[in-house]
């Protein structure tokens, strides 16, 4: 079952692509065709994308905490996906540049047969790559967790449509159809093994639920392949997809050229109306010459339909549009994870209200929820309770609420109003209250209550803003605080009043 392994697939594709790159460079040198050389460098960029994905996969397997990274390296795959997406966007940009160049200076394809041959070979390799990674790109969900929890079911349904290519563009649908019919064989052959994998996974989850599952019969990476790995694979898939489109364009262009183009023969006068060069004056001159010698009028050749020369850039533009359209969701998703946003399926407000309505909970603040990578969601909260025994009663319930939302790694800090700090405040305690307000991650929305003095309220506002130099700037900044933040403030205000 080596093809199931992510790393094996990446290595295989890497080897193939690199080999093809070398072959293309050699052929371009032999035929001295510049177009083939630039196409070969597209393959090289593909190689780089695969290397990035491979490095990310290698890193992300170390899920243990280390001295340098207390979370392990699970996030490397999300980073790999982002790097690939940005790389792809930059690549689209350069392809756009080349296409515009071709518009201003169209040139014909020399030796279309060779180009067709190499193009078809490239297309085959790219289709193979699509087949290898399509498994991940489109609905590869037979693979994900076989958990019996309801929330994970919800999560699956949410992320189900996600990796599929977006509908809409006619071209995109056409290409999707092509790739899906071609990869049918691949997925059916993989289908059997997927089911087997699913069975084994069910056994394993039973083991886990029952006791201390100490051993994993399969490779750990099979089991733990979740949406972060899918993101990474999607990045690679999009690169290969872009390359495949490029090969399709090359082949189509070369075929049409071979079929329809009337080239200028090497001997005899020829007028090429399409190429706008300074040679044209010479050409018109020679044409005038020939008209003067009326006997040779018929021998003036005109090179061939001009629109063919513009076909290449137009197709390239279409390809760029398709690529950008399909890359944008990947870019957005990985960026949102890296920005520490709350995962889409969780509603912070409702979670907050659920926690607050628990008996024994007086206030909730500093509630933070973020996604480390894939399905690992982390939450922290400060819960204010009247005394420690009440806290012991609600602690389990709090964890259950988080668990139901799919947040399994939580750190709950209880704060007791009866001990120490002034009532109603209950915020993070002492050394870091005043001096370090600016260094706290988010000091603020939660504690600027109306009861505070002007000084501390301005301090709390200053916590939320960037460095402040003068008091007057502080006030202007307070005006520019977005209204969403004030909403958070009023929530907390209500809380404090009720606790008093």
């Amino acid at each position: 079952r080596w093809w199931q392994n992510r790393r094996a697939r990446l290595l295989c594709m890497l080897a193939l692509t690199f080999l093809f790159f070398v072959v293309e460079v050699v052929v371009s040198r032999v035929t001295s065709s510049l177009a083939m050389l630039s196409d070969s460098f597209h393959m090289l960029s593909d190689v780089m994308a695969l290397v990035v994905a491979l490095v990310a996969v290698r890193f992300a397997q170390r899920t243990r905490a280390t001295k340098k990274n207390t979370f392990g390296w699970v996030r490397a795959e999300v980073m790999g996906a982002l790097v690939n997406a940005v790389f792809l966007t930059a690549l689209c940009f350069t392809i756009l540049l080349e296409a515009i160049e071709r518009f201003t200076e169209p040139h014909e394809i020399q030796q279309p047969l060779v180009v067709i041959g190499v193009g078809v070979a490239g297309l085959i390799i790219n289709l193979l790559g699509l087949c290898l990674f399509n498994h991940h790109g489109v609905g590869g969900h037979g693979h994900s967790h076989g958990h019996g929890h309801s929330h994970s079911g919800r999560q699956h349904s949410r992320s189900g449509p996600k990796p599929e290519q977006p509908p809409g563009d006619g071209e995109a649908a056409l290409h999707r159809e092509e790739t899906s019919t071609l990869v049918e064989n691949c997925s059916s052959s993989n289908g059997v093994s997927q089911e087997k994998l699913g069975d084994v996974k069910d056994d394993m989850t039973d083991l886990q639920v029952n006791g201390n599952a100490g051993h994993y019969p399969l490779d750990v990476e099979e089991v733990e392949e979740d949406s972060s790995a899918q993101l990474n694979m999607r990045g690679v898939f999009l690169h290969v997809f872009g390359d495949a489109l490029g090969s399709v364009i090359v082949v189509v262009n070369a075929l049409l050229f071979y079929g329809l183009w009337n080239p200028c023969p090497k001997d005899g006068p020829c007028f090429n109306p399409c190429v706008n060069s300074h040679c044209m004056e010479n050409a018109t001159l020679s044409q005038i010459f020939h008209r003067a010698n009326k006997s040779e009028q018929e021998s003036v050749m005109v090179a061939g339909p001009c629109w063919l020369l513009y076909l290449d850039p137009v197709l390239c533009l279409i390809m760029v549009c398709i690529l950008l359209y399909t890359t944008y969701p990947l870019l957005r998703e990985s960026a949102l994870i890296l920005l520490q946003t709350v995962p889409k399926q969780i509603d912070v407000h409702s979670l907050n209200s659920k926690l607050r309505t628990l008996e024994g909970v007086e206030a909730v603040h500093e509630l933070h929820i973020w996604q480390l990578a894939g399905s690992r969601i982390i939450g922290t909260a400060h819960i204010k309770c009247p005394d420690p025994s009440t806290y012991m009663m609600v602690a389990k319930r709090i964890k259950e609420i988080f668990h139901d939302e799919g947040i399994h790694a939580t750190t709950i800090q209880p704060e007791f109003a009866s001990v120490g700090s002034e009532s109603g405040r209950g915020k993070c305690e002492f050394p870091c209250r005043t001096q370090c307000a600016l260094k706290q991650c988010c000091g603020t929305g939660e504690d600027s209550t109306a009861k505070k003095t002007e000084k501390s309220s301005s301090l709390s506002i200053s916590c939320s803003e960037v460095v402040i130099e003068f008091p007057k700037t502080r006030r202007t900044k307070s005006e520019s605080i977005p209204s969403v933040k004030l909403e958070a403030n009023t929530d907390q205000n209500e809380q404090f009043e009720s606790s008093l």
Partner: protein
């Protein structure tokens, strides 16, 4: 106006100027049929894109709380810098490819005078750009440091000075990303000017290419190397933040040592330290204590330890010692063990555990099985981690070790 709005309005101004310049260059390139002008126009466009990314980062990072992001979008700056540097790297890669093509197929620069003029115009624009950004971000930051001394706010302690610099550093990260593009552009213009000058002074006419044709690609390759060498440190710095790594000034070993020595703490685990953006460090940990008063005292001291290490947002979860559960493992990871794979750091694999006062003993005990698994270890891992619990017997063994601890800690109290 505050410094922040100055920056974004400058960015907007530069965006508009770039857009105008791009439009002018592309139309002139089409009319005059010059290839190099077209590529220069696209350089300006890429510049524009990078500034848009930078602007986006600056604008969004002002949002401090949003329903989709409990931390606010402070990290957008860092992400913008990362995106910009990866974009610059990719562009450098394609420029490198073009240079290689030029080596294989050398071409003369035609109409050297026109190219020279446009090159000088591009260079001026880039220098202007650079000066504006430098003035906006770096010069002001120096002024800001001197003004900290006479800041009217008495509450701020002198340690605010370096802290302010840290916050500026995160916005500066974003601007550094944009400056990377500016620098790339400027160097490109320098290369164009030098090549065009040489071709203007020593025109080749119809002669075949001599050494002059190879100047352009060689200078371009030097430029690529220079820019890549300044892009990589930026990528590294932003990756440290984005990968949730331990921030640079924090020594985990030392920190956990100090934390373990706080009285009242029997053991601690799930210690996580990471940087949100711009010097704001966040930590979470679970501690095991005997009683609630233990926890209260210990909590204060723990915060002090973190404060001295530069970490100011700490969330501490107390777990009370229960003789039934294993001492060392987390007693409340989630409500059931089935959630293990969704925990941030798997509990099946041993957590970063530290116990109070018995580390040496545990070390010597645990390091022997550790050596058995030497092949799976990396050097970066803290040596106190005991090996992967390959079977349940090892877990039992660890529990056995920890059984004598409750008695010892109770006598201590």
């Amino acid at each position: 106006m505050g410094r922040y709005s100055g920056r974004s309005s400058r960015l907007i101004f530069m965006c508009v100027v770039s857009l105008v310049l791009f439009a002018v260059e592309i139309s002139v390139a089409y009319v005059g049929n010059s290839l190099s002008l077209a590529s220069d126009a696209f350089a300006v466009l890429s510049h524009l894109i990078s500034m848009i990314i930078g602007l986006f980062g600056v604008r969004i990072s002002r949002i401090r709380w949003h329903k989709t992001n409990t931390f606010g979008f402070i990290r957008a700056d860092v992400l913008g810098a990362f995106g910009n540097s990866v974009f610059a790297t990719a562009l450098m890669f394609s420029i490198f490819v073009e240079a290689i093509k030029r080596f294989i197929n050398p071409q003369k620069t035609e109409k050297a005078l026109l190219v020279l003029i446009v090159g000088i115009a591009g260079l001026c624009f880039n220098l202007f750009n650079y000066v504006i950004f430098m003035d906006c971000c770096y010069c002001r930051s120096h002024q800001g440091d001197t003004e900290t001394g006479d800041s009217p706010n008495d509450q701020k302690s002198p340690e605010e000075g370096p802290q302010k610099k840290k916050e500026k550093k995160s916005e500066a990260l974003n601007i550094r990303g944009v400056l990377l593009h500016v620098m790339g552009d400027a160097l490109g213009s320098v290369v164009v000017v030098v090549t065009a000058t040489i071709f203007h002074v020593l025109p080749l006419g119809n002669a075949p290419c001599n050494w002059q044709c190879y100047i352009d690609p060689s200078l371009t390759i030097i430029m690529v190397v220079i820019i890549l060498s300044s892009a990589f440190p930026l990528i590294k710095e932003t990756s440290i933040i984005l990968l949730q790594m331990v921030p640079k000034g924090v020594n985990m070993q030392l920190l956990t040592d100090r934390l373990a020595r706080v009285p009242g703490v029997s053991s601690l685990h799930e210690v996580h330290v990471w940087e949100l953006a711009g010097g704001k460090n966040i930590a979470t940990l679970h501690i095991k204590c005997q009683t609630a008063t233990d926890y209260q005292d210990a909590a204060y001291k723990i915060r002090k330890v973190f404060h001295e290490a530069g970490i100011h947002s700490v969330t501490i979860q107390p777990e009370y010692i229960d003789h039934k559960t294993s001492q060392l493992l987390c007693s409340s990871p989630c409500i059931s063990k089935a959630c293990d794979s969704q925990l941030c750091c798997s509990q099946q694999k041993p957590p970063l555990t530290k116990t109070n006062g018995y580390t040496e003993k545990n070390d010597s005990f645990l390091s022997t099985p550790h050596k058995d698994n030497g092949s799976s270890k990396n050097d970066v891992e803290i040596p106190i981690e005991y090996p992967l619990a390959e079977n349940s017997t090892k877990n039992v063994k660890n529990c056995g070790v920890s059984d004598d601890k409750p008695q010892l800690s109770s006598t201590r109290l």
